[in-house]
């Protein structure tokens, strides 16, 4: 301890030189803080006592931010800092492990967010700030000077922050971690102080089942998707009918056998028109000759070439699917009810057009559908994705005050 700043008169005294006056702080500017000098407590199970407090101010673009660092001392662990910011407590100690120095020049020249490694942790650049001391009180291992500027470059990992501080005289690295309420006891801390917002160092409080829900949800989603794919390729049994009919034959009635009642049955239609639309009427009768439905499908296919290249639209394929109530011989009647060209007056050389001349027909009984499995997969995806989304949002909130801007984001 080299400097003592009197809490009654604000005078900084040189403890190494007959308590000579160094500087005087105005005690009327004493910041409000629940941590008082002399308060003792435990941080990570180690006894510490508050021996000094230091108020900093950062001014940037006409706005100012103030915060109070509390110098704490432990007979076994030495000096450290306790910082209270919007109800969040952080704990900082000098960092003496091997790590590269992160300078302002490095940050200014970097094209991607600078990062460094130390003790197996990867720290990524967070921000650069220049602050000055506006108030000091208590005992310090150095002589605080009013207005003395400190430039600090911070880099953050998943668990901690490294601060590379430079003053006119020296430079040092501090390692800062977040203090959860159970990690700090004593210090006469008021229990009612509720932290606001998300501090950059705060770890996300995930529920005990969050990891399980994520794995189980995403795993179930994959199972559902695989099963859905299997259902989509399960096309049942093709009915024994003719597969192609000339338009000149229409209307035509085709009989087919249904062996699996209550199973989805699909009528697939295929046209061969070009730049034309064709409405195929479909009527289905059950084994007793009762009409099950009258419906139809339009097959339309358009294509051409323009300044952007070749294009195509629509499809010459269409289908109807229904549940046959009983086994037996059903009959489907097919007719070309209406048809037309897309644009009769366009240059046919560049865009050939013709109506359908043949209709393809396939009837399949016992078809499966992956529709509900896809919906279930979406549900499981939401369950599994929620913890991931929460983690993403928390991480985004942690980094929101970073001053690094990727050039792609400009």
């Amino acid at each position: 301890m080299t400097t003592h700043i009197c809490c009654y008169c604000g005078t900084a005294l040189d403890a190494l030189d007959s308590y000579k006056t160094l500087v005087k702080f105005n005690i009327l500017n004493r910041p409000e803080t629940p941590l008082k000098i002399g308060a003792a407590g435990q941080i990570f199970g180690v006894d510490y006592t508050v021996i000094g407090l230091l108020e900093h101010e950062e001014v940037w673009q006409g706005r100012s931010w103030k915060w109070v660092d509390h110098q704490v001392f432990s007979a076994t662990h030495g000096y450290a800092w306790l910082t209270l910011e919007e109800g969040h407590l952080t704990f900082s100690r000098r960092y003496r492990k091997p790590v590269d120095w992160l300078s302002k020049t490095v940050v200014n020249r970097a094209e991607t967010r600078p990062s460094l490694r130390s003790e197996g942790e990867r720290f990524k650049y967070y921000d650069t700030s220049t602050s000055s001391v506006t108030y000091a009180e208590g005992e310090f291992t150095w002589a605080p000077r009013k207005g003395a500027k400190t430039t600090t470059i911070t880099a953050m990992s998943d668990n901690a922050m490294l601060g590379f501080s430079t003053t006119n005289r020296e430079r040092e690295i501090y390692h800062t971690v977040y203090l959860e309420p159970q990690e700090i006891t004593g210090f006469d801390l008021p229990g009612a102080v509720k932290p606001s917002g998300i501090h950059a160092l705060k770890k996300m409080k995930a529920g005990v089942n969050a990891g399980f829900l994520m794995r189980a949800g995403l795993g179930s989603m994959v199972i559902c998707l695989v099963l859905a794919m299997a259902m989509f390729v399960q096309n049942g049994k093709l009915a024994d009918t003719r597969l192609r009919y000339s338009v000149a034959e229409l209307p035509v009635t085709i009989a087919f056998e249904v062996t699996k009642p209550g199973r989805l049955t699909r009528i697939d239609l295929q046209g061969n028109g070009r730049n034309s639309w064709n409405y195929l009427a479909v009527e289905l009768e059950d084994p007793e000759g009762e009409v099950l439905f009258e419906s139809g499908r339009t097959v339309e296919y358009y294509s051409g070439r323009d300044k952007d290249g070749n294009w195509s639209e629509g499809s010459n394929n269409a289908s109807l699917a229904f549940f046959p109530p009983v086994t037996g011989t059903y009959s489907v009647t097919l007719d070309l009810e209406e048809s037309g060209f897309w644009a009769p007056n366009v240059n046919r050389g560049s865009s050939p057009q013709h109506q359908i001349t043949q209709v393809g027909l396939q009837i399949r009984n016992g078809v499966s559908s992956g529709f509900w499995l896809i919906l279930l997969a979406l549900g499981f995806g939401c369950i599994g994705g929620l913890p991931l989304l929460r983690r993403y949002l928390h991480n985004k909130a942690r980094w929101r005050d970073s001053d690094w801007v990727d050039e792609d984001d400009d």
Binding site: L264, L373, L376
Partner: protein, 52 residues
């Protein structure tokens, strides 16, 4: 494995098995625009097929 996880696994397995069964039958793949009024009446023939 705690109770919540056990129930979650059981419910998920039931949901997957049940949905796979109805998917196998083809539910969800039927056309929605087919004339159901004809189907409903034709089954009972109560109106002597006079609709349409």
């Amino acid at each position: 494995m705690n109770l919540f996880r056990l129930i979650f696994v059981l419910l998920s397995a039931t949901a997957i098995a049940g949905t796979t069964y109805v998917a196998y039958l083809g539910h969800g793949g039927e056309s929605r625009d087919l004339d159901r009024s004809i189907r409903a009446v034709s089954a009972g023939r109560g109106l002597n097929g006079s609709i349409k």
